[in-house]
Amino acid sequence: MEELETPQIITHIEHNINHSIFDTKWIPCSAKFVVIGSLPKGTGTLEVFEITSGEIRKIKEIERPNSFKCGTFGASSDVERRLATGDFKGTLEIWDLEKSCQVYITKEHTDIINSIDGLGGNIVNCGAPEIVTGSRDGTVKVWDPRQRGKPVANMQPMKGETKRDCWAVTFGNSFNDAERIVVAGYDNGDLKMFDLRTMSLRWECNLKNGVCSTEFDRKDIPMNKLVATTLEGKFHVFDVRTQNPTKGFAQVLDNSSKSGTIWVARHVPQNRDIFLTCAGNGQVSLWKYEYPEHRYQVDHQGVSSGVPGKLRRLQRMVISTQPINALDWNRDHLGLAVATAYDQYVRILVTTKLNLQ
């Protein structure tokens, strides 16, 4: 019976693109997605595709002098649907894809923006629209599209500390207007959790390998779980409900798969306990986090600490010959995802039976 419920991962559509692609995002409330990349001559492109009965059709293309690295719709409402992008030179831009025009531009980072995340646009009552960017210049900046030019928060190493390359940033814990947390992962394995309400560093640890990607299972609830993927095929799942003053958060480490760097992990929007990891050998793995019987325990001093759960792999599938560097689940349709890989293919993935899990 168990086997009958195993989800399948199928490559629905494959589409070759003749240049490097770095990120892809579904355009909210549509069957369209945007692919972010760079042409061989060093210019950046934003391409909008639409899926129509088993085919991918290019609708629009925007070219800019600098290669784009990453993008997000997170800080924009579903009506405006503005894409925020970070590029190789450190420029943050916001695009109105309907009109193909740029509505916001600022260049405060001095080097490539590796990672971007947005929040506040799509879900009602979860705080201000904000964008967080992590850059090679060692800083993590938080932006509000309503404020021009200057970030609303800036997290950078103290003077004299070495600047680490920030590879991954994500928002979370935004369950009301005040609370919000930014998690940033660095190339030396540091994982830092900044509290934007108190403007302080809430927690940090070192994962020993560079952090490639990090994500909360949900951004708009009191923070529950955090996944951080690293080089050398490892990823960590933290139960971030219960923070112990000395031990921090409980975590599960998976290093079973010898699949090279895990580039990205993304939670299924419709089911927060299932997530997909994309590895350097072109393999995607679907995981389910199984909670323990009690999520926390109280020791004899009355201090509570988290209890880690277990990870179960539901399915795995090699879909590419090269590393898969970005993946995005569709918010409106269960099991539909788009992924980009270094083999210059963009793929529409279909995962069945997710509703049975």
Partner: protein, 502 residues
């Protein structure tokens, strides 16, 4: 067996599941497209404030509150208190934030765009202050993209184009600004500047007139308008404006005391003999007076050459018609059209020209005076000391071979190299050769000397290359003449032949 069935069933189930999924997906695609098309801009969110502004905004509100409260006993303050204005302020406070909430959607969205455009404009303005025109233009471009119907953005961009000398773009931007806001003074002024520099003075003056209509006390505009009118005036005066020119001259006697209209001058009681002569008194001649005008007011027509002949004081030349002409001063204060200079002149002159129909216009002057220069006058010629003197005289004598011959003959051959230095031209050389050839009898005994000295001029070999076959033929004859008549040595002849490349 069971196992095999199970596997088969699973495969079938999977295929089925996938099939249903795919149909679902297709339906979903269609539905999404429909939903997306239905998405209109009706959307407004209540958003919490920008993080960094939360703290900043509070004190501003606090500051506003303690507005000086006027005491009940302070009657003088109450007298000055503008009740209407206060009421308006209170009303505006009520409308301000609440209206945005109530009328969400379209209006608020427009408002947002305007705010953004305003921000861009301010950025542009700071760039303008730093004189970074290109950056400013891109800011205004974005502002215009956001809000298409604000005259200020166009006018400001126009200014930038003006500064960048993109005059046509500047003009079209200003025109757009004026179209949007017909009472926008700055736009008119900028368009006037653009048009002035483009050369369309009339259009520029119209714009400035509009400025003055809107702002009668705008000094800058008045100045500019005057300047333009002055410019237009010099290009010629309309016939209707010429009568008004006389009073303007009279009203400004100090500026040009030296050049009055002769006809209008009353005969001065004490005139020295010199002055009398200068004015041509008692002689049947006309006096050409110099006209002083600033360069930009001068006529753009090519100058006519008027030969001037020196006549000693008191000496009359009875046989010849008078060569002195009078040029009537054209009033440079007149306004109006730019190209009927001559007609204007003629309008003014008839009284002076009476009885001298043949000198009705400067064109005829030349015809008359050309004949005046005759051989005899050449006696006043002086040998030149440098090429400039020679060339001016030479050109003056153009077409008068006799005179040229005379002129050449007074030049000492040995001085030729020092006169010409390195400025001998090939056409002058061929003229000289021709004169020597035609008048070899007049230069008897000196032809060889001339030829030798000419060949000693610097860079002569280069000039000799331009001699025409005709010239060479004449030279050959000249050399033959030298050999026969002047007993020039064979060596010298050979040397000359070599130098003249014969």
């Amino acid at each position: 067996m069971d196992k095999a069935f199970e596997i088969q069933k699973q495969v079938r189930d999977n295929a089925k599941a996938l099939q249903t999924y795919m149909t679902d997906l297709q339906n979903w695609e269609a539905e999404m497209k429909r939903k997306e098309a239905a998405l209109n801009g009706e959307f407004e969110q209540d958003l919490p404030p920008v993080r960094s502004k939360v703290k900043k905004e509070r004190p501003v509100v606090v500051k506003k509150k303690p507005e000086k409260k006027i005491k009940g006993s302070d009657y003088s303050s109450w007298d000055k208190y503008d009740v209407d204005k206060a009421c308006e302020e209170v009303d505006m406070q009520d409308i301000g934030p609440s209206s945005l909430d109530s009328k969400k959607s379209q209006l608020a969205k427009l408002e947002k765009l305007r705010e953004e455009a305003q921000y861009e404009k301010e950025r542009g303005n700071t760039f303008v202050k730093q004189e970074k025109w290109d950056d400013a233009i891109s800011c205004y471009n974005r502002a215009i993209e956001l809000v298409r119907d604000d005259a200020i953005y166009y006018a400001n961009r126009g200014l930038c184009f003006l500064k960048k000398d993109s005059l046509h773009l500047a003009e079209s931007d200003c025109s757009e600004a004026i179209r949007l806001d017909p009472s926008y003074v700055k736009a008119y002024q900028r368009r006037a500047s653009a048009r002035e520099r483009l050369g369309s003075l009339r259009a520029a003056s119209r714009d400035l007139a509009e400025v003055l209509r809107l702002e009668p006390h705008n000094h800058a505009a008045r100045k500019q308008l005057d300047a333009i009118k002055a410019r237009m005036g010099t290009k010629g005066a309309k016939s209707k404006s010429s009568p008004s020119s006389t009073p303007t001259v009279e009203s400004k006697p100090l500026t040009k005391p030296t050049q009055p209209k002769i006809v209008e001058l009353p005969p001065e009681p004490k005139v020295s003999a010199d002055d009398e002569w200068r004015n041509g008194a008692g002689e049947n001649i006309m006096v050409i007076k110099p006209v002083k005008k600033p360069p930009h007011l001068r006529s753009k027509r090519p100058l006519k050459s008027i030969p001037i002949q020196e006549i000693q004081l008191g000496k009359t030349t009875p046989e010849k018609p008078p060569t002195r002409l009078k040029i009537i001063e054209i009033d440079d204060q007149t306004h109006g059209d730019s190209n009927n200079n001559d007609s204007n002149k003629i309008d003014d002159t008839p009284k002076n020209m009476k009885g001298e129909g043949d000198v009705a216009s400067p064109e005829s002057v030349k015809l008359v005076t050309d004949g005046a220069v005759k051989e005899k006058d050449v006696k006043t010629l002086v040998p030149p000391t440098n090429s400039v003197q020679f060339m001016s005289e030479w050109k003056y004598l153009k077409g008068q071979w006799e005179a040229r011959c005379e002129y050449l003959s007074i030049i000492e051959p040995s001085k030729i190299p020092s006169i010409f230095a390195n400025a001998l031209e090939s056409d002058v050389l061929s003229d000289v050769v021709r004169i020597l050839h035609d008048n070899s009898d007049r230069f008897a005994g000196r032809v060889a000397a001339y030829l030798t000295q000419l060949s000693n001029v610097k860079r002569f070999s280069a000039i000799a290359m331009f001699l025409s076959p005709n010239d060479k033929q004449m030279l050959n004859k000249l050399l033959d003449h030298c050999k026969v008549a002047e007993n020039t040595s064979e060596d010298a002849i050979a040397d000359l032949k070599n130098k003249y490349e014969l």
